[in-house]
């Protein structure tokens, strides 16, 4: 029997039982549709995270940390994960070290993470924030996403960049209107004159304080949009970026948190971290080992990224497993339909055998029938899964847009999802067809011809 004839036989008998073929294929369609939308959801999430990482340049960033006392677990000032290679406890991360790191081949720039707590005032609202000191070169880089206004032109320009979310918290819904307005930064510093007039006893008992507040006004030069994972310097945390020049003129305490005091070595504090921008991700290993040789610990988001990729792999498996339940139900539907079909066509099978059909011919016909159901159901399932995802995406985005969230595609459809789904559906249907096809081929023609 020729291949084309077997296909024609199979399609002919499916056409004869239109309703049942349709219902069985619908089962497959729903199963494949569920699987396709599940996997595309997993892929969509993965793509969103990956794209965000890539867009924010975080992957080619290395954070260098000194050794010494670590803040206790759970301290909100210190959320950075611990480095894999520990730092030598005796080295200090100072300006000299930053300059040395910047000279390592492959390093684009290195700048210390400097931040200090301050009260931020804007149009009557006040909020305590960590002010982030960021060089102009970094503030102007694409990872900052300054959507309204501009970045500061030099490290000396007196002006700040704020985040849209900070403005929203402070009661401004139109970020464009904030550009050019003034923001007030109030910091705390030690008042030496006052310190001299106080006696040690009252300072230690807490009844008098040598600390003083001082306020500085800066124009808002630019506003950054919400980046899903912050920028190079973590804007979602700080919300205010200031160039090093004006920052140096703000009187403030030399520490960000009380834990910094425990890191001091021989009276020298150094920086708590230095951000290192790499020319490319490929330089990461080499730069990192040089920094380790200098005695510092490092942390790279690229490591986390590998872990995230692994987590997504697990998520895909879980989603696929849920989708598989529907596929198994559909497969049972195929088996049921095909076995019913044998009973109905018992006599026809006998006739075909009597005129010379071999076991293999009968097997083939039944095999192709279940294959055709799987193929049609799989193709329809791809369309169903795609349409379902589009609808869900619209609905979810509609609600999120009301809360000011940007439009996000929660589903991704790489081409292989469709090919894989149709192929998988075909495979499942063929496997489902094995038993019915075998059973049909074993029909005894003598019994079948006697059958009415």
């Amino acid at each position: 029997m020729r291949f084309a004839d077997a296909v024609e036989f199979a399609l002919g008998s499916l056409r004869k039982r239109r309703l049942r073929t349709f219902l069985t294929a619908s089962g497959v369609m729903i199963g494949i549709g569920a699987l396709v939308s599940m996997i595309s959801f997993g892929k969509g999430m993965q793509k969103n995270v990956t794209d965000a990482f890539k867009a924010s340049d975080l992957l080619s960033t290395l954070v260098v940390m000194p050794g010494g006392a670590e803040p206790p677990a759970g301290d909100p000032d210190r959320q950075r994960p611990r480095a894999k290679v520990p730092a030598r406890p005796d080295v200090v991360l100072d300006d000299q070290a930053v300059a040395a790191i910047a000279k390592i081949p492959g390093v684009l720039r290195a700048y210390p993470d400097i931040s200090f707590p301050a009260m931020v005032g804007y149009e009557g609202a006040e909020e305590l924030r960590l002010i982030q000191v960021v060089p102009a070169a970094v503030a102007a880089s694409r990872s900052m996403k300054i959507t309204w206004g501009r970045a500061y032109a030099s490290d000396e320009e007196a002006g700040v960049v704020v985040s849209r979310s900070l403005l929203r918290r402070m009661g401004t819904s139109d970020p464009a209107s904030a550009v050019g307005k003034t923001i007030r930064i109030t910091s705390v510093s030690v008042d030496l004159g006052r310190l001299a007039t106080l006696d040690l006893g009252s300072i230690l008992s807490g009844t008098a304080s040598p600390l003083a507040q001082e306020s500085y006004d800066f124009p808002i030069l630019g506003v950054t949009d919400v980046a899903p994972f912050g920028g190079e310097a973590n804007l979602t945390e700080s919300g205010v970026l200031i160039p090093p020049g004006p920052a140096g003129r703000i009187k403030r305490l030399p520490i960000t948190s009380i834990w910094d005091l425990f890191r001091m070595k021989g009276g020298r504090l150094g920086y708590s971290a230095v951000t290192v921008k790499l020319g490319s991700l490929g330089d990461l290993g080499a730069v990192r080992s040089k920094v380790h040789d200098m005695g510092y610990a490092t942390f790279a988001l690229a490591d986390q990224f590998d872990e995230i990729t692994r987590a997504f792999y697990v998520m895909d498996m879980v989603l696929a497993a849920v989708g598989m339940i529907a596929i198994i139900v559909a497969a049972l539907g195929i088996v049921n339909t095909m076995v019913m079909s044998i009973l109905e066509r018992f006599r026809e099978i006998g006739i075909m055998k009597a005129v010379g059909a071999g076991d293999r011919d009968i097997r083939r016909i039944f095999f192709f029938e279940s294959g055709a159901i799987g193929f049609a159901g799989g193709a329809a399932g791809c369309v169903l899964g795609w349409v379902t995802s589009l609808v869900i995406n619209r609905v979810v985005n509609f609600y999120l847009a009301r809360q000011g969230m940007p439009f996000v595609n929660y589903f991704a459809f790489p081409f292989w999802i469709f090919l894989g789904a149709v192929g998988f559906s075909l495979l499942v249907s063929l496997v489902s067809g094995i038993y019915p096809a075998r059973r049909a081929s074993r029909v005894d023609p003598v019994v079948a011809l006697r059958h009415d």
Partner: protein, 234 residues
């Protein structure tokens, strides 16, 4: 006088027993038979005498419990399932009392069936099927489905289908059982004509004594699965 033709079919001590519950029932016992090529042999006997069992064994639809069947030098009784399918496809055509046409297929498509399983391409098998339908006088009914055909027409389609792959042997199991006497005579006449013109060997199971005596050249009578009489009426 011509020397006797070599036998096309030879059975030796052919037996078939069925297990009905725990009881063994012998449908056919120790049948030894030689049928020369070009014969028109009628097998008669009461119902349950083993006629159809004998025909199913000769047609390769069933396998014997004991004994051998040789057709054209090939040991049919030793064939596996695939070889038996090939034997049915090419060597032995069969027609039945209830015609056994596929109701959803036209006359032409029914005749095409054995050609499909023989792997004949579409154009060639359409041509051959149409030619065969013409030979049995049904060229004008080619595109009708069995329910639209009379009993006689259906049996003619079945004859055309049985001849599709050019077998040397045609087995007819009560071919006139569902037909009126006039049509019955036409059908057996058609078989007799094929027997004469093509030297086609025909074995026909029938209990219509008149038709058998008129057309068959040899008659074998079965009783309780055994041959009890053989005669040549002509």
């Amino acid at each position: 006088m011509n020397p006797p033709a070599p036998p096309l079919i030879e059975t030796r001590s052919l037996s078939k027993t069925y297990l009905v519950g725990d009881v063994r029932v012998a449908a056919l016992a120790d049948v030894t038979l030689a049928v020369p090529e070009g014969s028109f042999l009628a097998v008669t006997g009461a119902s349950g005498s083993g006629k159809s069992t004998l025909l199913n064994l000769l047609g390769g639809l069933d396998t014997p419990s004991a004994g051998t069947i040789e057709v054209g030098g090939a040991l049919v009784s030793a064939m596996d399932r695939e070889a038996l399918a090939r034997y049915r496809r090419f060597a032995a055509g069969m027609i039945f009392q209830s015609f056994n046409l596929v109701a959803a297929r036209t006359a032409l498509e029914n005749v095409e069936l054995p050609l499909i399983f023989a792997g004949v391409n579409r154009t060639e098998r359409k041509r051959r099927a149409a030619e065969l339908l013409g030979k049995v006088g049904l060229a004008h009914r080619a595109n009708h489905r069995p329910p639209e055909l009379s009993g006689g027409e259906q049996q003619r389609v079945a004859v055309a289908r049985a001849l599709a792959n050019g077998p040397r042997l045609l087995l007819a199991d009560e071919p006139t059982g569902n037909l009126d006497s006039r049509t019955s005579r036409e059908i057996v006449g058609l078989l007799a004509g094929l027997n004469r013109e093509r030297n086609l060997t025909i074995i026909m199971v029938s209990h219509e004594e008149g038709l058998v005596r008129e057309f068959a050249r040899e008659i074998v009578r079965l009783q309780d699965g055994r041959i009890v009489a053989a005669e040549s009426p002509a």
